[in-house]
C-alpha cells in the first residue's frame, strides 16, 4: 500500500485534463442554472458540439485548428438558439425535457452509420486533432514532481486550461455583479416579476443559455485537443449529471463553486478508486475483485455527496441563509 502514490494519482486527476473539461462545463451550467435558473439537462450537448466541431473541421475537412475553434463556438451558439427559441418562452420544465432529449439525439446523430463519412460513426474522429496546439508547447520535457505528474503534452493542455478557466471565471464574475447579472438572478427567482419591471426576459434567458453553452463548448474543444480523439459514446447524459454534481458540490451561483467542485469531485473519485485498487492488491479487502473498483468508487463518492446534500445542502461555497428562504 503506497499512500503517497494514491495521493499523487488523486492530485493529478484533480488538476488534470478531465477536471478542466468538467470545470468548464460546470461554469457554463452555473451561468444557466446557478444564476439564471435555466434547467439545462443537456450540457453534454454543448461539450459534444465543441469537440465534434474541432474534429470535423480539422480531420474530416482538413482545415486549421485555429479556424475550428471559432467554428466550434459558433456551433454552440446555433445549438443554444435551436434549443432556446421554442422552449424559453415556456415553463422551465420544458427546457429540461428538450435539452436532455437533444443531447441524446446529438450523440445518436454523430454515431450514425449514415453520417459516418463526416463524424466517423461509432469510432468517432481520431487523428492529429490538436497537432497545431501541441506544436506551440514550450515545455522541454514531461512535468514530474512527487505529487503531480503530467506528460509534456498534458502539462501544456493543463496549463492553458487553467488559464482559460481563470479568464472565463473573471468574465463571469464581471457579468454577475453587473446590472445584467441582477436581471438574470431576478429571473431565477420569479420571471414574471422581472417582466413586470420592463425587462425582456426571453432575451436574457437566451443570452444566458448561449453564454453557458459557449463555455461548455470550450470544455469540448479542450477535450478534442487534449485527447486527440472524439468518441461518440463518451458524450452520454452522465456527463451532464457529473457536471450538476460538481456544481452543487462546489455551490451553485458562486464563482469558485464549479472550480472547487471539479477539483474535489475528481480528487475523490480518483482517490477512492486508487485506494480500493491498492487495498485489494495488498490483500486488505478480499471480497472485491479489481474490476469492482469502478462501480464501487461511484457508490462511495455518491454516498459522500448524499451526506453533503444532507448536512451542507448549499454546497461548499453556498450561503445557508439563502436556502432558509422560501424559494418563491
Amino acid at each position: 500500500m503506497d499512500i503517497g502514490f494514491v495521493l499523487a494519482q488523486s492530485i493529478t486527476q484533480a488538476l488534470g485534463v478531465t477536471a478542466i473539461i468538467y470545470c468548464l462545463a460546470a461554469i457554463g451550467l452555473n451561468i444557466q442554472f446557478g444564476y439564471t435558473g435555466l434547467l439545462n439537462f443537456g450540457q453534454v450537448a454543448f461539450v459534444t458540439v465543441g469537440a465534434y466541431s474541432i474534429g470535423v473541421v480539422v480531420v474530416t475537412m482538413g482545415l486549421s485548428l485555429w479556424l475550428a475553434i471559432p467554428v466550434a463556438l459558433l456551433a454552440s451558439v446555433v445549438l443554444a438558439l435551436i434549443l432556446g427559441i421554442p422552449t424559453l418562452r415556456l415553463r422551465a420544465d420544458y427546457l429540461a425535457i428538450v435539452t436532455i432529449a437533444a443531447s441524446e439525439l446529438l450523440r445518436l446523430v454523430v454515431r450514425s452509420i449514415a453520417l459516418r463519412d463526416i463524424f466517423g460513426g461509432v469510432n468517432g474522429i481520431n487523428g492529429k486533432i490538436g497537432a497545431q496546439f501541441h506544436a506551440l508547447n514550450p515545455l522541454p520535457e514531461d512535468f514530474v514532481t512527487p505529487y503531480l505528474t503530467f506528460s509534456r503534452q498534458d502539462a501544456w493542455v493543463v496549463f492553458v486550461g487553467w488559464v482559460l478557466i481563470a479568464i472565463v471565471s473573471f468574465g463571469v464574475w464581471l457579468l454577475v455583479r453587473s446590472p445584467w447579472g441582477r436581471v438574470v438572478r431576478g429571473i431565477r427567482e420569479d420571471e414574471y416579476a422581472v417582466v413586470s419591471l420592463g425587462k425582456n426576459v426571453f432575451v436574457y434567458k437566451m443570452q444566458a443559455l448561449i453564454l453557458g453553452g459557449m463555455v461548455g463548448a470550450l470544455g469540448g474543444i479542450i477535450w478534442a485537443i487534449a485527447k486527440q480523439s472524439v468518441q461518440p459514446d463518451t458524450f452520454v447524459p452522465d456527463v451532464t449529471f457529473f457536471t450538476y454534481t460538481i456544481l452543487l458540490l462546489g455551490g451553485a451561483a458562486r464563482i469558485f463553486g464549479p472550480i472547487v467542485g471539479a477539483i474535489l469531485f475528481w480528487f475523490l473519485l480518483a482517490g477512492v478508486g486508487e485506494f480500493l485498487s491498492q487495498a485489494i492488491q495488498a490483500g486488505w479487502i478480499d471480497f472485491l475483485k479489481p474490476t469492482d473498483v469502478g462501480p464501487i468508487r461511484f457508490i462511495l463518492v455518491g454516498m459522500g455527496l448524499m451526506s453533503l446534500m444532507i448536512f451542507r445542502p448549499q454546497g461548499i461555497f453556498g450561503d445557508k441563509r439563502e436556502l432558509a428562504l422560501d424559494g418563491r
Binding site: S178, W180, R182, D190, S196, L197, G198, K199
Partner: protein
C-alpha cells in the same frame, strides 16, 4: 361608515375628484382625460366567460379602484390590460396608443407598471437589488456593457440613491442589505410597491395591495397610495373590501361576473342596488365590509408598522 376623506386630500386629489364630479355614474362612462381606454375586452376559459368588458376608461391622475366580489374577474382583467394574458377579442389604448397585443415588458417600459396579488418579492436578492431591478434604461443591463463597470457605475450610484430615498419613505431603509425573502408579508407588499415606483411609472396598477396585511400597515399603505397620486402618478388598484376603497378611491369601478356593473364615486357606488346585489346576494342585512366595522383615517401612518 363615515370616513372623512377630505381632511387628508392633497391638491391633486382635490383636482381629480373635481374633474370626475361631472362624470355620469354609469358603467363605461367617458372621463375628461382618460389614460386608459378599454373597448370590448373579452376573455373566456373554456365555457366560462371570465371577463366581458364593453367599455371602461380610467382618469389620469386619479386613484381608481376596481372592486368586486371574489371571482368577479378583476385579476384576469388586470392580467389582460398589462399583457400578461391575451384576450379573445378587444382593444385598449394607453396614453392614446393602441396597446392590445403588446408584450408585457414593453407596456411596463411605456409606464404601465403592475404589482401582483401574491407578492413577487425576489427572495434571494437583497431588498436593494430588488429596488435596482425596477430602474429603467440601465446601460449595465446590456450584456456587452455589463463587462465594463465604468460604463454604468455612475448610473448605478444614482439609482442606488433613488432606491434608498424610496426605501426610507416606505420604512425599509434599514432592510436594504437583507434578502427580500426575510421580509414579512406586509413589508413585501411595500417593497413591491416601492420597486414599481423605481421606474417612475405613469400608471401604477396594484393588485390587492392590502390583501393579507395587518390593519395598522394597511393604513400606512393607504397613505402611500395617496402620496403616489399626489406625485402625479395615476393609480388603479384592485380590492374586494369596500371600506378601503371608500377611504382613498376617487372613482370606483365595480365588476361582477366579468362585467362592469357600476361606476362612480365611492359613496354613490356603495348605495347602488346592483352593487349591493352583487356583493351580498339576498343577505341584505349584512354590512358591506369584511369586518363589519368601519375604518378611520390614521393620522400617524409612519408610526404604525415596523
Amino acid at each position: 361608515m363615515a370616513v372623512d376623506t377630505h381632511s387628508t386630500l392633497g391638491p391633486r386629489g382635490q383636482a381629480s375628484q373635481a374633474a370626475l364630479s361631472n362624470v355620469p355614474n354609469v358603467p363605461g362612462s367617458a372621463k375628461p382625460d382618460p389614460i386608459l381606454d378599454v373597448h370590448s375586452v373579452k376573455r373566456s376559459f373554456g365555457g366560462l366567460t371570465a371577463v366581458d368588458v364593453e367599455q371602461v376608461q380610467v382618469q389620469r391622475g386619479a386613484i381608481t379602484a376596481l372592486i368586486g366580489p371574489n371571482g368577479a374577474g378583476k385579476t384576469t382583467f388586470f392580467n389582460l390590460l398589462t399583457g400578461f394574458d391575451a384576450p379573445d377579442t378587444g382593444e385598449w389604448t394607453f396614453n392614446g396608443q393602441q396597446v392590445a397585443g403588446t408584450a408585457p415588458y414593453k407596456l411596463a417600459r411605456r409606464g404601465m407598471v403592475r404589482t401582483f396579488q401574491l407578492t413577487k418579492a425576489l427572495s434571494r436578492l437583497t431588498v436593494m437589488d430588488n429596488m435596482l431591478l425596477g430602474a429603467k434604461g440601465q446601460t449595465g443591463e446590456h450584456i456587452y456593457a455589463a463587462f465594463f463597470p465604468f460604463l454604468w457605475s455612475k448610473q448605478e450610484r444614482a439609482n442606488r440613491e433613488r432606491a434608498m430615498e424610496l426605501l426610507s419613505r416606505f420604512n425599509l431603509a434599514e432592510k436594504s442589505v437583507d434578502f427580500a425573502g426575510s421580509l414579512s408579508g406586509g413589508q413585501r407588499k411595500l417593497l413591491e410597491m416601492a420597486r414599481a415606483l423605481m421606474s417612475d411609472p405613469e400608471l401604477i396598477m396594484l393588485d390587492e395591495p392590502m390583501a393579507g396585511v395587518n390593519p395598522a400597515l394597511t393604513q400606512s399603505l393607504l397613505h402611500h397610495i395617496k402620496d403616489i397620486r399626489e406625485e402625479g402618478t395615476t393609480v388603479l388598484f384592485v380590492e374586494h373590501d369596500m371600506d378601503m376603497v371608500h377611504d382613498i378611491g376617487d372613482w370606483v369601478i365595480v365588476m361582477a361576473m366579468g362585467q362592469i356593473i357600476a361606476e362612480g364615486p365611492p359613496g354613490a357606488v356603495m348605495k347602488d342596488q346592483n352593487v349591493i346585489d352583487a356583493y351580498l346576494g339576498t343577505h341584505h342585512d349584512k354590512e358591506l365590509t369584511d369586518s363589519g366595522k368601519s375604518l378611520t383615517v390614521d393620522s400617524d401612518p409612519e408610526g404604525t408598522h415596523s
